[in-house]
Amino acid sequence: MVKDLSFTAAPGVVTGFLGPNGAGKTTTMRMLLGLTRPTSGTITIGGRPLARLDNPAREVGALLDARATHPQRTAFHHLLAFAQTMGLGRGRVDEVLGLVGLSQAAGRRTGEFSLGMNQRLGIATALLGDPGVLVLDEPLNGLDPEGIRWARTFLRDLAREGRTVLFSSHLMSEMELTADDLVVVGQGRLIAESSLDEFVRANTVQAVTVRAAAPDELAHALTRAGAGVSVQPDDALLVTGTDTATVGRIAAAQGIALVELARVRESLEDVFLRLTDEVTEYEGQPA
């Protein structure tokens, strides 16, 4: 269920569409493409509904489900059938196969493809009409590390050519090195919309980890100075609400020798989990 969701994906950048499973990412993308009808409201692309465009695939390229291919059909014929709807032929099919590195597999049936190869085929399908807008649902899902690196560079290159690239994922780690902008949803509602850097700055908690010869004494001194302190199992202190310089000064003033002093940053994965925690629909119970 998606309610009152409104966001902008700008040309020239990769916009990551992030949310836990069941948050409404796929539903939103399907509505965008006219496959699922919203109960109210309209969806326009460049001011016109998708169905009114003469050759919608020249405006919007989509990857909905990489597995959605006929297993008996070859990659080449899969692409050819879609190219022909726009009056394009074998030439364009060979081009997009080359772009995604599937030229060697053109004659193979998609039923023999790995999920990663199907993702590449899906991206090739989206690119057939050379559209300015790309809507990709979980394009990195199922790719091996080499494939993920390829896809990241590829998506960023497509954006750099001036295209609008919107891609979804339920994994923060997939966003970190790929997206410029971030749209975070949970239970069909917008949680955050900003650039990735801003998102990190606004939502990550800065903390300091410190190890000292006299941890209890230091903990007291830091608490007196107004910092939040928690003692880790290995006697290291996790200090919040301050920075490394202040911690060092306080330790020096008390004459406590430090063994280690470092800045730690909450990982994006942690931030994402914390933000979506209240709105996660399906959650495992602790055993």
């Binding site: 493409l33 496959l35 006929h70 014929h77 899969h78 879609f82 022909q84 709807t85 726009m86």
Partner: protein, 252 residues
């Protein structure tokens, strides 16, 4: 034109299309040949009343029609089953145009398959009958060409109805169930119903009515050929309209 080319690529690039086309022809001819083989020892005088060598040679339709119907249904259900329909609609958002293109291409292919099945079945059986000294039909005999044309049309209409059924139920197994029911069970069991209901099924059930169109010698209690094929055509158009409406209204 672009859409027709696209749908033709889809249809020809999967093995199941060619398997269905070949098995429709092979099964149709084989069943027709089997149907008359037990008559080969009999003398012309022993043949039943109203002997119709043309209709007799098309008995293999019983099975061929099922395969042709499935050929039509699969062209739609394969896209729903794999989820490819979503991608198809991104390229062609007009569902009416997409379904129409599919219908035209499938109808073209089934027309050809139907024609080959009809002509081969007729020829094989007439050759067998002739060599056994039994009365056979020839293309020059009155009503024979008309019956063969009607038989071809009959199978083609079932292929088109198959597309519509596929669009209605969106699953290959359910399409097969509907086709077995409509093509085999109802014509076999319907006329056994009591009173007027049984009579109606024996005459007006679109499949039974359509089968009357390729008889040369009229059978008692059935419709005239023209009326028979008309009823089947109207029924096929009705199912197609229903399949179209449902495809337009449902979310994918």
């Amino acid at each position: 034109m672009n859409l027709l080319r696209s749908e033709w690529t889809k249809l020809r690039s999967v093995r199941s299309t060619w398997i269905a086309a070949l098995s429709a022809v092979a099964a149709g001819v084989a069943l027709s040949v089997l149907g008359v083989s037990d008559l080969l020892g009999t003398s012309p005088a022993e043949l039943p009343q109203g002997w119709d060598p043309t209709a007799e040679s098309l008995k293999g339709f019983l099975f061929a029609q099922l395969v042709i119907g499935m050929l039509g249904a699969l062209s739609v259900t394969a896209e729903h089953g794999t989820g490819m329909i979503g991608t198809s609609l991104v390229f062609v958002p007009s569902r009416s145009r997409l379904l129409a293109a599919k219908g035209v291409v499938v109808t073209g292919v089934t027309l050809l398959v139907s024609l080959v099945t009809t002509v081969l079945s007729f020829t094989a059986v007439q050759v067998m009958l002739g060599s056994a000294g039994l009365p056979a039909a020839g293309l020059g005999d009155p009503g024979v060409v008309r019956a063969l044309a009607a038989g071809t049309l009959y199978l083609t209409l079932i292929g088109l109805a198959g597309v519509a059924i596929g669009s209605l139920v969106r699953s290959a197994t359910q399409s097969l169930a509907v086709l077995v029911g409509a093509l085999l069970l109802v014509p076999a069991l319907g006329p056994g119903l009591p009173g007027a209901l049984g009579d109606w099924f024996a005459r007006f059930w679109p499949i039974t009515a359509g089968q009357a169109s390729y008889a040369v010698v009229p059978v008692d209690g059935t419709l005239a050929p023209g009326a028979g094929i008309l009823i089947l055509a109207v029924a096929a158009a009705g199912v197609t309209a229903a399949g179209h409406v449902v495809f337009r209204l449902r979310d994918i």
